[in-house]
Amino acid sequence: MKRFLVSLIGIVMSLPVLAAGGGDTVIRQAEWSFSGPFGHFDKASMQRGFQVYREVCAGCHSLKYIAFRNLADLGYSEAEIKAIAAEYDVEDGPNDEGEMFTRPGIPADRMPSPYANDNAARAANNGAYPPDLSLIFKARPNGADYLYSLLTSYGDAPAGKDVPEGMYYNAAYSGHLIAMPQPLYGEDVSYADGADDSIDGHAKDLVNFLAWTAEPFLETRKRTGVAVLTFLILLVGVSYGAMKFIWSDVKKA
């Protein structure tokens, strides 16, 4: 035990420390409506992102922290949310007979996960674990650009790079070998509003959606922040004036 822990600490401490991805990863940058002090969400894009999530990613990735009722933030009406929730089967119970049962989802339910548990998720993915996506945006440095790059940087490995069975080459992923098969190819999902359905368009919509799942209060936060800062900057001015006034009778020396 002790020797294990000591060597563990040794390993841990000798590892490179700064969180910086895998050194030679290629990160592409884009403009995001939610960045900056006046940032806001692009609801139409988030709805499309949600659609891509449902039709592509939801097969492998859960979204545990999101309840259907939260979808109101994307601009869905109450009726639409009820309809979306009802498309899912949710396990509930036990009932009066002590049995678990399935029923159609309601707005108060959280989004059901694709796998019963982590082991089932690994078993279905060659031992790799598809992480929950609710917080992925905040769980990676430079979340927006990173996710955008990850989803659009699959390709052929450069000559000399070995890609083992069940792994895929991705220039944005740390180490360049990821166990997630390329999820997006472009035109994977048909958008009702005729928006850009290239791989780039899908990826951007997903980023807008995942920025929201990680930080649903982002707009409120920034809006409150602008008001609070305005007040505080005024307060700085007023209190400075008051200080100068009170100190005006103090002789310098």
Binding site: M13, A19, M243, W247
Partner: protein, 420 residues
Amino acid sequence: MESKEFKNPVVSWIDHRLPIFSFLNHEANEYPTPKNLNYFWNFGSLAGIALVIMIVTGITLAMSYTAHTDYAFDSVERIMRDVNHGWLIRYIHMNGASFFFIVVFIHIFRGLYYGSYKAPRELLWMLGVLILLLMMATAFMGYVLPWGQMSFWGATVITNLFSAIPLVGENIVIWLWGGFSVDNPTLNRFFALHYLLPFVIVGVVVLHLVALHRFGSNNPLGIDTRGPQDTLPFHPYYTIKDFFGLSVFLTFFAAAVFFVPNMMGHPDNYIPANALQTPAHIVPEWYFLPFYAILRAVPDKLGGVLAMFGAIAVLFVLPWLDRSPIRSARFRPIFKIFFWLLFIDCLVLGYIGAMPAEGIYVLIGRLATVWYFAHFLIILPVLSVIETPRPLPQSISQPIFSAAGGGLAGAMSAPKEKVE
């Protein structure tokens, strides 16, 4: 203190029996304060306010937090998403810890520059160092509570340090954990202690203030006040100045909370703790980085731990290492240079703490560590003997020469308070 007459009869009645109002009046209203304090004297009251902010937001968080390995991470997410203004309370608490340390670090360097640790303020200084230690313990345990990857692995790495203690080390670690690894019992006791320690800090802060009010504040000239011409009543002069300082502080604080709340945190802490998956890079919170650098600078584990605690221990005995009777660096030309070298040294240590322990970083880390200790153990004692100080002014209100020094204080103080 004399019982004072108050206009309000109720206040008067109470004060006659329980002289609390006289006490407050004496400590806040009449309390004579040197008139030449610069803005570096704002950071004490800011630290007090930061402590109150931490306690208020902390208790509010505790109402919705669950200290169990299965629920802690989820309960913090619930606070963020479902509790009214939960995201705000949590971001204030999270960033509040960083700002608390920023304020306290500035407060400490202020003391180092102006010699505030010297007689008769040795105990005041030592109580301050004790507060720093308690803050570090509190922040370390608080960071474990959200039970993310960095929470778990940071706790594992730091608690393991105690296994370096000869003979009993391993037992101590098991005792700290309440088991054979960082697990649910660890989380529970960390929560209990994280709730307790801030109130212990409050207690030490009270002692710190009692010690302060015995001789009053030091000042940028580092000379004693010589009567009413040198002082001002604390209220309204310093209450308004502290209020102005507070509004500036809150502006920076709010900018962080509302616009870059995760800047000083680590993304990995948004991944739930996983004992089977070591993160690629385990880094402590930024305010521990200089100490982390010192820990890693010593090739031997026990030596590293001793050096890290030694870095704080030298602060404890600082009043007896620097024997120069001159307090303020303004009148100590050589000390002033070494002060700034120490300041840079601490920044270097902080940077090295964030870098991998390899190649040139190891060497720089070692040199910076040696410099840190040499400053306190060799340079200061020697300087106290060999340095020729510049002449001191006769009093705060009658300097014998114009604008002393400049430097740290001169650059920052408002023209009014400069002694000219």
